[in-house]
């Protein structure tokens, strides 16, 4: 199979998968088989594209396909480069794991409307693939909106008042920011630059000057609401009303990473690092990201619900990536890219664990977790590994990304960034370590009505896989970093 065909199929496969899942709704086993095989096939396709990018040369350069011309100069087009392939790999790879997990979760919990759930999930992955492989800002925007709209039914899945209220905040903030700020910013970009293509070195250099560029940058940062900078972060905790597999894959990986991925794309391929350094007051953006990191960590500290705490932790961790992107040194960019992967695998593990605890014991609050480590040793072990990655302790992926971020901050002697990173590491430890302590070193205060062990097998298996991946990011960071160097124009 040629890579270019594989690239197009990455969009077609999840869409056809969604259709098939809808058709197989009456036979749950067949439906789940379709989900799993679609996920597997998609991952295989992304690997094919990855292979072509990896080999480099002409084949990688030719990975561009124009699907449609809307207006002269406005295309729907796909391409692939190291950054996008990384996001696609993470999203499609974790989709397989999450599918296994959700089969366990949805069945154990006897959720209603499971077919709708799996269909929307597949459409959301379609959106994520489109975001990953978009060759220009317009294509990216279209898929970004598809991702928003397709995840709305998932957030509102429960259908009660709480779910509706959460879904309202979710849809309201994501749509308002994208239409109110992202879209005008995109039009502005086109009118000054004459193109929306992602190009190495950016397209804005010399086309927009002074304070205008600063405003444009801020419009992008807040317009891309999926990156959840304060004050447009509220949709993320609100989205926690969704079933846990949704929170795990979409609100720890696909949706939020689509946000920071878009910001990274805009900074690297629209503004260009060299140009952005000269933009006046661009450091304001760094301060906003730093502020978000610290404030969201403090908010996470005050949460009592496990999933809400994880959501605030995600807000904070996303801003790590935004901050690192905006530090604008080569090492910090690498830190940002590695953190996309490291945070994805660690946070999905944490959500999986939270979901497993809920299924096994119906516990949702942090203060109920006393002694749970003895009942669910595997789940809590994975939780501990992932929590250490959040804090940035070796041997986990979080350490690698933090290492590069700190190194990047030293390259420009930014004490602000260093202080933020130190402070938030302390805060992360302050809200994760007590949970581990509770789980292993406290006795159960009240015995559960029914004694329970681990969650169903598919869920435990999924948790083990992602926890293992968290460790693998640490041990295999060399090839990852080398591959991503190409984003910065460094020849391999």
């Amino acid at each position: 199979m040629t890579a270019i065909l594989a690239l197009q199929l990455t969009l077609i496969v999840p869409l056809c998968g969604a259709l098939l899942i809808a058709l197989c709704g009456r036979w749950p086993n067949l439906r789940e088989a379709v989900t799993l095989s679609t996920a597997g096939l998609l991952f295989y396709l992304v690997i094919q594209v990855f292979g072509a990018v990896e080999r480099g040369g002409d084949e990688a350069a030719a990975l561009y396909v124009e699907l449609w011309q809307i207006l002269p100069g406005l295309h729907i087009a796909l391409h692939s480069e190291p950054l996008s392939i990384l996001f696609a790999l993470v999203a499609s790879g974790l989709w397989i794991v999450t599918s296994v997990y959700s089969i366990g979760y949805m069945r154990a919990n006897q959720e209603k409307r499971q077919t709708q759930f799996y269909v929307c999930f597949a459409v959301a992955i379609f959106g994520a693939m489109g975001v990953a492989f978009a060759a220009n800002l317009l294509t990216l925007f279209l898929f970004y909106e598809i991702l928003t709209l397709s995840t709305y039914p998932l957030v509102a899945h429960k259908g009660d008042d709480k779910a509706r209220a959460g879904a309202r905040t979710y849809l309201g903030i994501l749509l308002a920011t994208s239409i109110g700020l992202f879209l005008p910013a995109m039009m502005w970009t086109y009118f000054v630059a004459g193109t929306l293509d992602f190009r190495p070195g950016g397209i804005l250099d010399g086309n927009i000057g002074g304070i205008g560029a600063t405003i444009l940058l801020l419009m992008f940062m807040f317009g891309i609401g999926k990156a959840a900078l304060i004050p447009v972060h509220r949709w993320l905790p609100a989205a926690m009303v969704a079933p846990t597999p949704v929170s795990a894959l979409l609100h720890a990986v696909a949706v939020v990473k689509a946000g920071v991925f878009t910001i990274a794309k805009v900074v690297i391929y629209i503004f260009g690092l060299d140009f952005l350094v000269d933009v006046p007051h661009e450091v304001v953006a760094v301060y906003i990201a730093g502020f978000t990191i610290v404030v969201a960590s403090i908010l996470a500290l005050r949460q009592t619900n496990i999933k809400r705490m994880l959501a605030y932790s995600t807000v904070s961790q996303l801003s790590y990536i935004v901050l690192a992107v905006l530090v604008l040194t080569p090492l910090s960019e690498i830190g940002a890219i590695v953190h996309i992967v490291a945070h994805a695998v660690a946070k999905i593990t944490l959500f999986f664990a939270a979901g497993a605890i809920y299924i096994a014991s119906k516990k949702t609050e942090i203060n109920q977790l006393d002694g749970i480590g003895f009942r669910m040793p595997i789940t809590m072990g994975a939780f501990a590994i992932a929590a250490l990655s959040m804090i940035g302790v070796p041997p986990t992926g979080g350490f690698v990304s933090k290492w590069y971020m700190i190194a990047g901050a030293f390259q420009i002697d930014s004490y602000f960034v260093l202080i933020v990173l130190t402070l938030s590491t302390g805060l992360n430890a302050a809200y994760f370590l007590p949970i581990i302590f509770r789980a292993y070193f406290r006795k159960e205060s009240v015995a559960p009505p029914k004694p329970h062990g681990e969650a169903p097998l598919p869920m435990v298996g999924a948790i083990c896989v992602t926890a293992l991946l968290t460790l693998l990011v640490f041990f295999l960071n060399g090839p990852l970093v080398a591959f991503e160097m190409a984003v910065l124009g460094v020849p391999r």
Partner: protein, 490 residues
């Protein structure tokens, strides 16, 4: 046969109307009206093709040549508008059978089809003819039919709304007639082609300016330009839903066409600019229309009224396009003519489905509608996104060209104003979405609208997306038409 298409376009619905009266049975009349409208869509499609192939079509009525007889003249602009009007007209009549079932009593239903076809014939006639007195005649045919159609509404206030429109519409038509009279006394001809040849030599004549002013004000009354829009919200809110859908998607479009025809073809682009700051007036009124009407729309409790005000705002965008005074600006207006017909057609038809189930389009009926009428609400969401101008819908295309035109002139404040206007649309669409998806509905038993209503609605909604992605047809037609209007009379 093919050479008679320009007149057939008008004569088919015009003759079908009395035939409907003779049929006197609602179902038979409906089938007959459907056939007539489908034939006129085919004719307009063929006309577009012919104009594209052979250039401007000129047809002499009864074999009498132009200065003496009435000339029908189809250029790209008229072919384009004919296609919009007949296409929407046919889609609406497909849905009409179901939509009027609860709004119009059975004995009056055949009459409805008669009026509908007369209105359609009048609108098509205005666009097809090349003679300004003929324009007036068709304008009256369509207007009179419209007044009667609006008066069919089940609410008693429909009578009052129709009466209000009758007064304002008659004033508008009279203004147009006065303008035509002045032009005839000045030039001795009623043929548009002759007028455009003779008027440049009379550039400094006060009579010409008076005629121009009367024509402009008269047409602006018909197209409901702010602040002459006051008749429109009532008329749209109280008319039967299918009539609202039809009028919103066609009548104002034809009025905009007329404005463009008079302004660009008959008088020429330079005429107005030489004495009046017409373009600045258009810009100011268009912007005022966008903001005032959108702000009023946000507060409306009746959704039909809400979208009526939104129509006034959208007309504002079309007028802004003309006011920019460049070929790109005009192209934006022409595109929005097409696109707005699609979005408002879809929206009002979806409202017709809501009215069909609930008896009114009050916003309280929308509570929980997302679960109870999922397809209808999906159409409203698509239409709403299009109204806002989200990429992937037609609304984006027209906004894009409008902003592009403003950008070519370096008018940044205008760009910002247009984008702010879109944000106002976000607010009133969001209000609907919020009620429909996030409020709990009352426990009324309610099902999705019948398929006969849903299918035409879905076609329009899909057209909103299709033409937002495959833009070749409207962009080509509007581009050529705008080039022609600026090329003929620079």
């Amino acid at each position: 046969m093919l050479s008679h298409l320009p007149i057939l376009q008008v004569i088919v619905p015009l003759l079908a109307a009395p035939a409907c009266l003779l049929l006197d049975r609602a179902r038979a009349a409906w089938l007959f009206a459907c056939m007539a409208s489908l034939v006129s869509v085919v004719i307009s499609g063929l006309l577009v093709f012919q104009v594209h192939q052979f250039g401007v079509l000129s047809y002499s009525l009864g074999g009498w040549d132009a200065p003496w007889g009435i000339e029908y003249r189809i250029d790209l602009l008229s072919a384009y508008v004919l296609l919009i009007v007949s296409g929407i007209g046919a889609l609406m009549i497909l849905a009409a059978n179901t939509a009027i079932r609860i709004e119009i009593p059975p004995e009056r239903q055949p009459l409805f089809y008669v009026l509908y076809l007369l209105c359609l014939a009048g609108l098509l006639g205005i666009v097809a003819t090349g003679d300004i007195f003929n324009v007036f005649v068709f304008l009256e045919i369509s207007s009179l039919a419209t007044y009667a159609l609006i008066a069919q509404g089940q609410d008693r206030r429909a009578l009052w709304a129709a009466y209000q429109y009758l007064i304002v519409g008659t004033i508008g038509a009279t203004f147009i007639l006065i303008g035509i009279g002045f032009l005839y006394s000045l030039t001795g001809t009623l043929n548009m082609q002759d007028l455009s040849n003779r008027l440049p030599q009379l550039e400094n004549s006060a009579t010409a300016f008076t005629a121009f002013a009367f024509l402009m004000v008269g047409v602006c009354l018909k197209l409901a330009l702010f602040p002459l829009h006051l008749w429109l919200p009532n008329a749209y809110a109280y008319a039967p839903s299918i009539v609202t859908a039809f009028l919103a998607a066609t009548a104002t479009k034809v009025a905009v066409y007329l404005l463009i025809r008079f302004h660009f073809s008959v008088f020429g682009v330079g005429f107005a600019a030489s004495v009046l700051p017409l373009h600045s007036i258009f810009l100011a009124l268009g912007l005022a229309g966008v903001f005032v009407a959108s702000l009023v729309a946000i507060q409306q409790p009746n959704v039909k009224r809400l979208f009526a005000y939104s129509s006034v705002a959208q007309i504002g965008y079309m007028i802004i396009g003309i006011g920019i005074g460049s070929a790109t600006g005009l192209q934006a207006t022409l595109l929005h003519l097409f696109n707005h017909a699609l979005m408002k057609g879809a929206l009002f038809l979806a409202l017709a489905a809501v009215v069909f189930r609930f008896g009114s389009a009050d916003i309280r009926h929308f509570a929980g509608l997302g679960q109870r009428m999922p397809w209808t609400m999906a159409v409203i969401v698509i239409g709403g996104l299009s109204l806002i101008g989200v990429p992937g819908t037609v609304g984006f295309i027209s906004k894009w060209y409008l902003v592009l035109a403003a950008f070519e002139r370096d008018w940044w404040p205008l760009i910002i104003a247009v984008l702010l206007g879109s944000l106002l649309a976000v607010i009133y669409i969001w209000r609907l979405v919020e009620v429909a998806y996030f409020w709990k509905g009352e426990d009324e038993v309610c099902r999705e609208a019948p398929l006969s209503l849903l299918i035409p609605t879905a076609i329009l909604a899909l057209a909103n997306i299709y033409f937002g992605i495959d833009t070749r047809l409207p962009v080509y037609l509007s581009d050529s038409a705008a080039q022609m209007l600026f090329g003929v009379s620079p």
